[in-house]
Amino acid sequence: MQSIRRTIRRAVSVLLLPPTAVLTACGDNGYTGIGPVQETGQAVQFGIWTPGSNDTCTKEIHDRYSVVALDGNRYNTWHPPVDPETGCSFGHEHGRDPRGSRLYSKVGPIPFGMANEALETWDPQNVRHEDHFGHKIDWENNIEFVRQDGLTGALFSVKCDVLAKLHQGTHSKDAFTNNLHEVVYHLSCTDGTEMHVTMMSAIGTPGGFTRTCDGTRVEVGAPVPANSPNGGGQRVIPDRTCVDQFMRVGPGQRADYNQALHESWQTSNTVRTDDGHTIAHFNPYFQVFFPSRFYDPAAANITGRPIAECDVLDPARNHNNDLCDQSTSNGTLTGLSFDDPRSEFNGVRRFIDINDNNIDNKDGPEQWYTDPFGRHASQHPFPGSLRQWVAKLKNDYGFNVNGPAIGFDRDYGAPSVHAPN
């Protein structure tokens, strides 16, 4: 009975998909992510979202936003916070609508969890499951990558389209210990720099994180999976120390929420061959202001909630209509739960520092297959591999050509969006 229901659901989903919602191969004649692919099944992480008490959409409506990826599996993909057809709300958001990106015509819908799925095959004993809420997309078209002051700006110009997705959950304890998070990165520039990479990004050292307010390493516990590799970069996450120092301020002082509750996931990602040659490197920093959690070893589930701190802030502080005031109607509401839609601590304020995009692939090929971590790059697919596409060139100019911050002024919030988000 359940399989019949699943078959019907899949048929309905296929019928409801836009024509572009099918991904396929990329070759040496330019990257393309769109074309016919035979659907062979559902990804492990497909359909894992179920509505909470504040959400009005059904799971069925949610899972209509899906895509069949290169591996033949069906994945959830981007959807707006509110379903335009029914008007129901999902209660979470995935960032900027990728259909506005100029890369979308090449890339198509972004599958959520394809690298996680590859890890299921690559290392079945050490899988990494990530929730649905954390997939966040941002993009920008035609942005200048050369610093515009001084000599370089006078002589050179490189403009790029960038479309990035990171699984960046900022509502649970997951990232306190776990450094593996799926990243999807598409970049195309006027100088020929182009890459299309999907991988599990190892962000910093597993088992702990870097404290936001003073840069101290905080050890928390064992990561999942236990063999998570060390990566470049770091996960900068707030903890009780930062909240006490910058949020719980004294009389007349103003709470500094930016210092208290800022996350910066500083990735450093490489596509690398067995002999150590780095084909591509990119290191975007994914920033979140005002998440719905901070690390608190004394709290339940080691997860502190900023909205709960609003109840214990000094009423004599310099309020200035701050985030707690906005969340609690100037202190008249108390005891709000972390997932209350009225809480401003929901992780909808984000931006990305694009940073460096280095390619050393002059001799090609453009199409590579790597393990889920971007390693063991090979010209031939192997079990658990992911297809990557890197332009045939070397873009080491001797000076910095790196992306600026994108999305700084955007707010992905909606009245219905709430933690977990």
Binding site: V146, G150, L151, T152, A154, L155, F156, S157, V158, T190, D191, G192, K394, N395, D396, Y397, G398, F399, V401
Partner: protein, 192 residues
């Protein structure tokens, strides 16, 4: 600066195209060693995959010397300089070339020239500098209007271009290949 540049440009072009008729084709005798120099306007461009590609106007000039092979063929060496400064960035293009002058008519000051040598383009501000050095060639045309004895006033126009070469940024060799070009118009003096 801009007005004086335009004046040089207009004067040069007038002299180049109209002066021979106005001055009745007076021609200096061409024999022995010769040397000369000139100033004018130049428009230079740096081209590469990420270069902005626009042309920059600036002052330019040359110094040249050589020997007369026949009254219609001269051989020599020439150095060319172009300079531009804008928004705290200084640009310099220099070239040293062997040049060949051909005078189609013995009784005319009209010449065409070609040259081959090296060119270097550089730019710097107070923090960074970049340069590229490459083989270069040039073609030009001019008219020597005799003034007194072997002295001539010479309106001229030149095009100089370089091959692609690696670009150096703060002494680091970049993966960029760049080439340069220069269009010059001006007035010079030559003493045969």
């Amino acid at each position: 600066m801009r007005c004086s540049g335009r004046a040089v440009l207009v004067t040069s072009l007038l002299l180049l195209f109209a002066a021979p008729q106005l001055l009745g084709q007076r021609v200096a005798e061409r024999h022995g060693f010769w040397f000369g120099g000139g100033v004018g306007m130049g428009s230079a461009r740096l081209s590469c995959t990420i270069c902005r590609g626009g042309r920059n106007g600036g002052m330019s000039g040359y110094l040249r010397l050589g020997a007369t092979v026949t009254p219609q063929i001269l051989l020599g060496a020439e150095t060319t300089v172009w300079y531009h400064s804008e928004a705290a960035v200084d640009y310099l293009l220099g070239s040293v070339q062997a040049v060949l002058y051909l005078y189609p008519a013995r009784k005319s000051g009209l010449y065409i020239k070609t040259g081959f040598g090296l060119a270097q383009y550089s730019a710097k501000d107070d923090q960074d500098q970049m340069s590229t050095q490459a083989l270069a060639g040039q073609f030009g045309v001019g008219y020597e209007i005799a003034v007194n004895g072997g002295l001539s006033i010479v309106p001229y126009a030149n095009f100089l271009g370089s091959s692609g070469a690696d670009l150096k940024f703060n002494n680091t060799v970049s993966s960029l290949s760049a080439n340069t070009s220069l269009i010059q118009v001006g007035v010079g003096l030559t003493l045969h």
